[in-house]
Amino acid sequence: MFEPKIIAYLCTWCSYTGADTAGISRLKSPANIRAIRVPCSGRVSPEIILRTFDQGADGVLVLGCHIGECHYDSGNHRTAKRLPAIRTLMSFAGLEPERLRLDWVSASEGERFARIVNEFTDTVRSLGPVRWRIESTEKINKRESVSSPRVQKQPQIFLPETQAIREKARELLTNQEVECVIGYEMGTHNRTRPAFVYSPDEADRLVWNQECTHNLTRYLNDKLKVKQKAQSGNSQEKKPKAAVVAKPCDSRTINVMLAENRFERDQVYVIGVECGGILETAHRQSLSAKVSEDSGGVYQSKCLRCAEHTPLIADVLIGQATPAESTPSISQEEWLADWDGMSPAERISFWNAQFDRCIRCYACRQACPICDCPSCLYERDDSLWVGMGTGPNQNRTFHLGRAYHLAGRCVDCNECEQVCPMEIPISLLNLAMAKELDHVYGFRAGRAAEPPPFVTILTEDFIARVVEEG
């Protein structure tokens, strides 16, 4: 008979002692459980869970103190939020969700410990050996070509908006209110590219049209972020200031950045632009296309999911307010509707094909305005979290880990997918997390400058639900 390997992370105060109690009470528990003691269930990070399955565990059990009894006051509140999230993400990528279980066992509940462990072992045993590790041989380097009708058209520069942006930029630079204006200019092949304008004379470089796809707030990290730790703590020094042209999606990013204290609100002057949707650039095809009526182009997929036409945060608003639609043309649920019926095996095989293509160029990470760690967890030479090779397993760990890190922070600006040379549908992972957070906590990243829900404690009614669910 199949004997699964199960890793159990036990909190030292309640569950580990509970396991002891079970032993002292001579209660039988299966040998499949390999216990690892941690100070608090809050110590068990989603990355550890991911890594444990990567290493071939058939199931992972996390046990902590009951909510309200945490030895560390509220450490387990975070566990109660993180573990379901990583379960959602991994099951989206093809893991059977039953293989990851979170439960609460107090020091005196030896019987409960034995019951949970037995139950879980039976569950995992009935699921059979884990199929998480991709044993793929055939490299699928070919892109699946998706042909969709597209009318090639010269991008039009929208004159009124362009003029207003130029005037604002000139005014800000002349008055020395900012040191730099980050906007768009025309590049080669009639495509727009980011522009950094430092003097009023250069303001006429700036343009605005329907192909201004880049999320320029990404450059605020370099321009504004307080890097005082490198300097000699001279707080008198003037804080750098910059202006940025922001679409609604970009304005959400600024909210996330403010929540993370990357810079202060008065450091950035937001030139908000009313946006009716951005068109696909020539080299990219959308997964789902809708022909824009006025220009004949194809709207980007993120714009079909976006309900906002006006930036949430702006010091000046430019452009005409487009007719405000209250709901996105395609909701998160609709977008992910196909996934509801997919079996774990189908999901694994879908993602296998996708991750197999990844060349680990890290373009997605570099384009992301949120990804701002000084050195990336997944690009270290110690192979602690992921190997440096481009096998599907490593690639998947990188992408899932990144999706988890962005949960509650990703505002769906979709730059990652835009820049991916291998056309991996990265946004699907981010969307799956966004949907989970919206459903469970009513949280939408970037709506306000607030931290993601994983780090805060549970509300009273949420506790009631968690406790009820057991």
Binding site: C40, S106, E260, W385
Partner: protein
């Protein structure tokens, strides 16, 4: 307890709450809120005189509601410190609603105690003319009265009139009594003469009130009035059938007797002269204009200048000044719908008028006069003609024959002007040979300086700043002339006080009177009111209305129509008061305290204590047996809790040490029920540990002192302590009956008071399963205090599943908590008896002392550390730390190693793994995991 209270190194902060704790072991900063006791702890000798005179009786929570206590109280006979405390819930709504700050709840309570003179002083403290406001006030106190939420407000005005009438009836005895009306006010102590002179123009309620206050503050006051009598509108504007003149004159005379220099029949029109040169006995350093609004208005319609157009105020003044007017046979139309119109109509009716009509713009429901008075006027024969506009006074042969009117639809007043639509074709004539105008009155400004140095205000009144000073420095203004229209006497008195305070500040600078401090207003909900009834703090009886003399006795005389309450009625009505504010600030205690310890102005205090260690000893709460329906606690009065028994058997308790049934007789048999709320999966699964032993003690007390049969219905006898088993055996030997069982039903013979049959299951072989007794005592278990969760979060202490505070380790660290430097003692950690509590307290003290003695602390090595080079400063660790041990510094996280407890939540939340936990870092955990999978 006393030796602790007196120890030089122990500072007891009673009546205080910890609001927040910051810092860490060795460096705690405890923010304490000291609630005001209103009695100076260092002065109070605990003599209890304040409680003796306090009229407010509320349920005594220490006696579990078995007795009443006063608003000024001592927690218990043995309380440390022994000082009394005055309990205040805030300002009663009645007092807050009154412009004169009348302590209505206070004088009502004094009436209840038949202390009418004290009630009179309480009224007089803010109000020099009680008889007036006992009769003609619009009693905003009653509109605000909390009792109105239940049935009808307390008849506060009626009660005030009762006191005023009592004082008038006993006016010869009053001078022999101690006048307490100045106690507790700024006028309590004699103010030496300041040498400043104040002139007040107008001897009405505002002027006289200000005069009284200023005289008491040591200023020389001269009052001028153009009328031949003092009292202003009170004296010449209220008809005698509503306010007897002799009673009012007596009250005015009392004011004058305090030393006000009053000049009647004197018209003042040179205000700058009063300030500058010697006219009218000047120069004066300050002047108060309080001339009132004595100029009745008249519309300029056709023939309104005819001599038979009279003014309401003229009629009232002539009557009040004693002129014998004869209006017999006259048909009169009174134009106006307010209180003055009503007074005028009822007055002319008494002067013999044949037919009296009242006509006004407003519809019947919108008439500004009091509803009740409109009804009375109609009863007396006044015909109401509301909802019409007056077009013309019809004159034929130089005599008025009527008023031509049109019906209208009235939309109210817009910017001071009436807004209405005339109904076409409704023109008609109201027959009359005399028209009296009562459409409002305004102030006469003809005496103001012609240079405009005193500004008037649009649309009416005199312009003043917040301190009631007019645009001419040194000249103040109060009362109707300030508002520009007729208001109520209380408003004038309130402004009089305010003007006096302002003038005192003007004359003395910073040493002048301050504005009084206001506590928040109490708001009682339906539930609070029901609870007050249940605790016996108010009576449910209905409101007692004011009665009047029969209509037939009212003709052609000015007998007062409304009658005063009888003493019995007043006593009954006073029982209806809900005592909203608890302390009513009647200030009887201030008068009684010989040490001067009482200070009703005491403020909240906030202390910041720097301490190194904290011991929590917040105790427990008794289980409420009303939660268990089969015990019928609260339904059968003879089912009581053990704590209620303890209060009864206590010689200083509510029954003086006697254990009595509800009918006052001692019980002949008593059943004691164990494990109430404890060891029961429906309530609390834990054993409360102390109940078995105290039940045995109760059994012995009942057996020895009440000499009743005792039955102990127990689940398991837990006599685990030293000498406990011996105590149990001794109890058995005394003849106490012990039956094993779990009680599932209590019945009463007559459904309430009669003998109680207690039934149980799980009885032992050969033992009964029921017993019938007179009294049942419930041995209630322990519960965590209601605010345990709040206290836990303030101190950062965890709780176990039963709700009590959680110790760090049940065996190895039983008094420590997970928060370093915070210790537990007593029943806040788990149910325990006194010996165990004392032992644990000793252990907690020793643990705290060992830290103090060492002067250093050893930290757990397993704490979080940051790799600064990797940290992006996103702040997720800061938000996820349960101990606020991480802060961002220069764009990177920093761990406070004293606060960090090593849970590792931060390490798990860090996206870049810049944060790690020493001894549980990622490399170690992953290596363990990989090894386990191998």
């Amino acid at each position: 307890m006393v030796s602790v209270g007196r120890h030089e190194n122990i500072k007891l902060l009673t009546y205080s709450e910890v609001e927040s704790v910051s810092g860490y072991v060795g460096n705690f900063n405890v923010h304490v809120h000291r609630k005001p006791r209103y009695i100076d702890e260092s002065q109070c000798t605990g003599c209890g005189k304040c409680a003796e005179v306090c009229p407010i009786e509320i349920s005594n929570s220490f006696d579990l509601g078995l007795s009443m206590r006063k608003a000024s109280y001592r927690h218990s006979a043995q309380a440390v410190p022994g000082a009394y405390t005055i309990e205040k819930a805030g300002v009663a709504p009645c007092r807050s609603a009154c412009p004169t700050d009348q302590r209505a709840q206070g004088y009502i309570a004094l009436i209840r105690q038949k202390r009418y003179a004290d009630a009179y002083w309480a009224i007089r403290r803010e109000h020099p003319f009680p008889s007036v406001c006992g009769r003609v006030c619009n009693h905003r106190c009653e509109d605000a009265c909390s009792r109105g939420k239940y049935d009808e407000p307390v008849n506060i005005m009626g009660l005030k009139r009762f006191v005023a009438d009592w004082a008038y009836a006993h006016r010869d005895e009053l001078p022999n009594m101690r006048d307490k009306s100045l106690v507790g006010t700024p006028f309590q102590h004699h103010h030496p003469p300041t040498g400043k002179k104040v002139a007040i123009i107008g001897a009405g309620p505002a002027g006289l009130t200000a005069a009284l206050d200023l005289i008491r503050l040591g200023h020389a006051v001269t009052v001028f009035d153009s009328l031949p009598v003092a009292g202003g509108m009170m004296r010449v504007g209220i008809p005698p059938h509503r306010l007897p003149i002799d009673m009012l004159d007596w009250e005015i005379q009392q004011v004058i007797d305090e030393g006000v220099d009053i000049h009647l029949n004197t018209w003042v029109d040179d205000i700058p002269g009063l300030l500058e040169n010697g006219s009218l006995g000047g120069p004066y350093q300050a002047v108060l204009i309080a001339t009132g609004a004595h100029k009745a208005k008249k519309l300029s319609i056709r023939n309104s200048n005819h001599p038979d157009n009279w003014l309401s105020l003229d009629v009232l003044r002539r009557v009040d000044l004693g002129e014998k007017l004869d209006l017999s046979g006259k048909k009169i139309v009174v134009l106006g719908g307010g209180n003055v119109a009503l007074d005028t109509s009822r007055t002319v009716l008494r002067l013999g008028a044949d037919e009296v009509r009242m006509a006004c713009l407003e519809s019947r429901g919108e008439m500004p006069g009091f509803d009740w008075e409109i009804g009375v006027a109609e009863e007396e024969g006044v015909k109401m003609c509301p909802g019409r506009v007056f077009k013309e006074i019809v004159v034929k042969d130089e005599k008025i024959t009527g008023v031509r009117c049109m019906e209208i639809v009235f939309h109210g007043f817009k910017r001071g002007r009436p807004d209405f639509d005339e109904v076409p074709g409704t023109e008609h004539i109201l027959p009359a040979d005399l028209v009296i105008w009562a459409i409002g009155q305004g102030p006469d400004f003809s005496f103001l300086p012609s240079d405009g140095s005193i500004n008037t205000r649009y649309p009416v009144g005199i312009q003043t700043d917040e301190d009631m000073m007019t645009t001419l420095p040194g000249v103040f203004c109060a009362g109707d002339v300030h508002r520009g229209m007729t208001f109520f006497v209380v408003d004038a008195i309130g402004e009089g006080h305010q003007a006096a305070r302002s003038m005192d500040r003007y004359l003395r600078g910073e040493n002048g009177l301050k504005e009084p401090r206001k506590l928040p207003v109490v708001e009682l909900g339906q539930k609070d009111i029901e609870e007050k009834f249940a605790r016996g703090e108010a009576d449910r009886r209905p409101r007692i209305p004011v009665s009047s003399i029969p209509i037939g006795e009212r003709w052609e005389n000015f007998r007062e129509v409304d009658l005063t309450m009888t003493e019995a009625e007043a006593l009954a009505e006073s029982e209806r008061c809900l005592r909203c504010g608890i302390c009513s600030e009647c200030l009887e205690c201030v008068a009684a305290c010989e040490r001067g310890a009482i200070n009703h102005e005491m403020q909240d205090e906030y202390l910041d204590l720097k301490v190194g260690t904290i011991i929590l000893a917040t105790g427990f709460k008794d289980f409420d047996p009303a939660k268990i329906p089969e015990l019928s606690y609260g339904k059968f009065p003879n089912v009581i809790t053990s704590m209620e028994f303890e209060r009864m058997i206590n010689s200083s308790g509510p029954t003086g040490g006697k254990v009595l049934l509800h009918n006052g007789r001692p019980p002949r048999s008593v059943a004691i029920l164990h494990c109430i709320g404890s060891r029961d999966e429906n309530y609390h699964s834990y054993c409360s540990r102390a109940c078995c032993m105290y039940s045995l003690k109760i059994a012995q007390l009942v057996h020895d002192y009440v000499e009743a049969d005792v039955y102990e219905i127990y689940r398991d006898m837990r006599t685990f302590g030293k000498d406990y088993e011996e105590f149990y055996n001794r109890t058995r030997k005394k003849g106490v009956h012990f039956y094993h069982g779990r009680v599932n039903q209590i019945d009463s013979e007559d459904g309430r008071y009669g003998g109680l049959t207690v039934r149980w299951n799980e009885s032992f072989y050969n033992q009964p399963d029921h017993v019938t007794v007179d009294m049942v005592i419930l041995s209630t278990g322990f519960e965590p205090q209601e605010d345990t969760a709040q206290v836990a979060s303030i101190f950062g202490v965890s709780r176990s599943h039963d709700g009590f505070f959680l110790e760090r380790h049940p065996k190895l660290a039983p008094v420590e908590t997970a928060s370093e430097g915070i210790y537990l003692a007593g029943a806040c950690q788990s149910p325990k008896d006194i010996p165990d509590s004392v032992a644990q307290a000793g252990a907690a003290a020793a643990a705290a002392l060992s830290l103090i003695d060492q002067g250093i602390i050893a930290l757990d090595p397993s704490i979080a550390e940051v790799n600064q080079a990797r940290c992006a400063g996103c702040g997720q660790c800061v938000a996820s730390c349960p101990y606020q041990a991480i802060e961002l510094h220069n764009g990177a996280a920093q761990v406070n190693e004293y606060l960090c407890k090593g849970c590792g939540t931060c390490a798990a939340s860090c996206p870049n793994k810049a944060m790690s936990l020493i001894h549980y870092n990622d490399r170690q955990i992953l290596a363990e995991m990989i090894g386990a999978l191998a």
